[in-house]
């Protein structure tokens, strides 16, 4: 049985994750063909409901949906009136009346996509909710890592930065751990909650974190636009203490470590310019892989019906969805 919604990584079973990653591989092969479109979601409608600004996630979902031949509608969210929950509820009623098949939602309030999912028969995909989850980002991160490490068990990923506000850190760390990858955090004391799961070691200085011998260094975006409260003294100091400086890049290069970043990058803050040209930077791979992962997710979910949450999964793709390879 398939799922109606993708709201989080926490409730995904390992079999579901591996199925989605396998499907993503198939979809990615499609990109090399002259016709990149398949009719898997022909006649279906995908509604993009982005209450927060987004460029890459939004366009990635849009491209993914179009390559599956779905119709994509961008819901015109009035930023001036969306802060109140009642507006969201009215929107949900409207969407339900429209009988859309998929809703891709991003909102600054944690848990809001789940609330929408409970009130609509459409498949809801969480494209980022507050500091809660960003499941497709986690899937594309895992997919990108698996491209480099086909059997990633025992590999180590060091996530550096603002864990407190990061849905990426939560989703990606959860998913990587489900795949047997070790995860550790490094960041300022004001931005790494002391209640992170015990399974995630927390380093307080860069050298100690590197001594842990990570295979991948995953830099989180410093969300300067959200820093209405001062969590660290200056971006200069942040870069010096937690950023990939030129000196650190040399060390990373020597060790052959991969660098990842969910984007968009603050150059000179999380990383120095040279990282963008570093041969083991996977940042553009992540963007590219986002499309195939999101195609796999859209193709996998089954809108409609009254699906209980966190349904047990039988790893059988729907008819017609696996025959994408020539």
């Amino acid at each position: 049985m398939a799922r109606k919604d993708l709201l989080d990584i926490a409730s995904l079973h390992r079999e579901e994750i591996e199925f989605l990653l396998d499907q993503s591989t198939s979809f990615k092969k499609l990109f090399t063909r002259s016709v990149k479109k398949i009719p898997a979601l022909e006649g279906k409608s995908v509604l993009m409901l982005f209450y927060e600004a987004s460029t890459r996630t939004h366009s990635s979902f849009e491209v993914a949906a179009k390559r599956l031949s779905a119709e994509v509608t961008n819901f015109n969210v009035d930023h001036s009136s969306i802060t109140k929950g009642e507006s969201v509820r009215e929107t949900i009623e409207t969407l339900q009346a429209m009988r859309t098949d998929y809703i891709v939602v991003r909102h600054s309030h944690s848990g809001l996509p789940g609330m929408i999912a409970r009130q609509t028969t459409a498949s809801v995909i969480n494209a980022g909710d507050g500091a809660h989850e960003h499941p497709t980002q986690a899937l594309l991160d895992a997919f990108t890592i698996k491209e480099k490490f086909p059997d990633p068990r025992g590999k180590k990923v060091l996530i550096i930065g603002d864990i407190l506000h990061s849905r990426v850190a939560r989703s990606t760390s959860t998913l990587l751990q489900k795949l047997g990858i070790e995860v550790a955090y490094l960041g300022p004391g004001s931005l790494v909650p002391k209640y992170v799961p015990a399974s995630i070691p927390r380093f307080t200085d860069y050298e100690a974190a590197m001594a842990w011998a990570p295979d991948v260094v995953y830099l989180l975006r410093v969300q300067l636009e959200r820093q209405d409260v001062q969590f660290f003294p200056s971006v200069r100091e942040y870069h010096r203490v937690y950023g990939i400086t030129n000196t650190r890049l040399a060390e990373i290069s020597d060790k052959g470590l991969y660098i990842m970043h969910p984007g968009p990058v603050n150059r000179g803050v999380e990383l120095c310019d040279a990282v963008m040209d570093y041969e083991r930077s996977l940042i553009t791979n992540q963007v590219e892989n986002g499309i195939s992962v999101r195609m796999a997710v859209l193709d996998w979910l089954t809108p409609g019906g009254d699906f209980p949450k966190q349904e047990a999964y039988a790893a059988q793709p729907r008819a017609g969805s696996t025959v994408i390879m020539p």
Binding site: G85, V88, H109, S110, L112, G130, A131, H132, P193, Y195
Partner: protein, 425 residues
């Protein structure tokens, strides 16, 4: 005339339930004894096996009137109290307009006399419009019977303002009830900072946000020679702070705990269930355990629900948008029985002491008791029956409670106040 036969009488002074008949005549308990003769014209109720206790008294309720009558009114709120075996309440003054003047208080008390079947008392604001700047008209409210001053819903942020209010109002025999929270630390979300706040991706409110003000306000009360009552204690260290101050004996401190802080943890929030969103937030099992110990020891003097109704529409929003608070009056006594008395964690004597006697003492009211000569103010409770908290069962105008549709052991069968039978099931 009402004769209750073979009731098991609970009192704050003894864990032993005394089985006896109780005769109520003209609103007073006229006789207690075995096999009392049935007076002519008396109504006889077979109370065998059921517990007879004084009516509960809730020193912390929000009846939302004036200003928010879509959530609750004095009538619906007091009916919810009766439904739960509670025969007296103290309203909080965070209404609109706020109860910060004799005029506002007089209006509320007049409404209460007309519209409630139980005594409804009110507290008054410490500062005008609860803004924490100018002192409210304290003495004018005292003349109308207000004893408790609080800016509940918020801490009186400026300690100098609170200290002055304490110095001034203590002269009039008034005391202060403190909602303890540093807003800059607590943040707006009403979720304990911990494993759950990390998992749900919501900025948590650390317990120290509460503990700092508990300590601050007791220090201020000590400096002013005032009596401070700490409201809805939710944290272990907060309770221990109160214990330490009480052990010194040089400041008058009382404190209350809400049933939900004894019963639920942040883990109950689960998938963003707004019925568990309240302020102070639900904390951890260690906090619950410590609060239970504090209640038994008397560090926490009384139980109060912080009955906080909100409309279904408001609570049906996402967790972050939904307002803080849950209702408590319909459910308090049954839930205390089900979760604590029935499993033997404490006895009926503690319930009577902490939820009937101590809150009345706090308010300077006569303590209700099942004793000869006392006014009839009693509740008959069936420990064998069950209560299902359906929407129809609830008398509160709002049903924002985790207990909705739950079935718990115990039932409030009868509520008698003076000459009136307020409730009979």
């Amino acid at each position: 005339m009402l004769l209750l036969q073979n009731a098991r009488i609970a009192s704050e002074n003894s864990p032993v339930l005394l089985e006896s008949d109780v005769l109520i005549v003209e609103g007073k308990i006229q006789a207690i004894g075995s096999n009392l003769a049935i007076p002519e014209g008396a109504r006889v109720i077979d109370a065998r096996g059921r517990i007879l206790m004084p009516g509960m008294f809730d020193a912390h309720v929000h009846f939302r009137a004036p200003g928010f009558e879509n959530k609750e009114t004095i009538t619906t709120g007091s009916e919810a109290a009766i439904n739960g075996g509670i025969t007296g309440v103290v309203m909080m003054p965070n209404t609109r307009p706020a109860l910060d003047s004799a005029t506002a208080v007089a209006t509320v008390l007049e409404n209460a006399r007309d519209r409630a079947r139980i005594p409804v008392y009110t507290s008054g604001c410490v500062t005008k419009n609860r803004e924490g700047k100018e002192l409210a008209e304290i003495e004018g409210m005292r003349e109308l019977g207000v004893k408790m001053l609080t800016d509940d819903g918020d801490t009186t942020a400026d300690p100098a303002v609170l200290l002055r209010a304490m110095q001034y109002a203590t002269e009039f025999g008034m005391f202060f009830a403190s909602h303890c929270e540093v807003p800059e630390l607590a943040g707006p979300r009403a979720l304990n900072e911990g494993v759950m706040s990390y998992r749900l991706g919501i900025k948590g409110s650390p317990a120290c946000a509460e503990e700092i003000i508990i300590d601050r306000d007791i220090r201020l009360a000590r400096a002013a020679g005032a009596h401070v009552h700490i409201q809805h204690v939710s944290s272990k260290l907060g309770m221990e702070t109160i214990r330490w101050w009480k052990s010194r004996g040089d400041v008058k401190v009382t404190a209350e705990v809400a049933p939900h802080h004894l019963l639920f943890t942040d883990e109950h929030i689960g998938d963003y269930d707004t019925n568990y969103k309240m302020n102070p937030p639900l904390r951890t099992q260690a906090d619950c355990d410590a609060l239970l110990e504090g209640l038994k020891e008397g560090v926490l003097d009384l139980i109060a629900t912080d009955h906080a109704p909100h409309t279904p529409f408001e609570k049906a929003q996402d967790f972050i948008s939904a307002p803080n608070g849950i209702t408590g009056l319909d459910t308090a006594l049954v839930s205390l029985y089900h979760h604590f008395v029935a499993p033997g964690k404490f006895g009926w004597d503690l319930v009577v002491k902490r939820y009937s006697a101590e809150p009345r003492r706090l308010m300077g009211l006569p303590v209700a008791a099942i004793e000869v000569g006392q006014p009839a103010d009693c509740v008959l409770f069936d420990t064998d029956a069950e209560t299902t908290f359906t929407k129809d069962f609830m008398k509160s105008k709002s049903q924002n409670t985790p207990f909705i549709d739950q079935t718990l052991k115990g039932s409030v069968d009868l509520v008698v106040l003076g000459t009136e039978v307020l409730l009979e099931r």
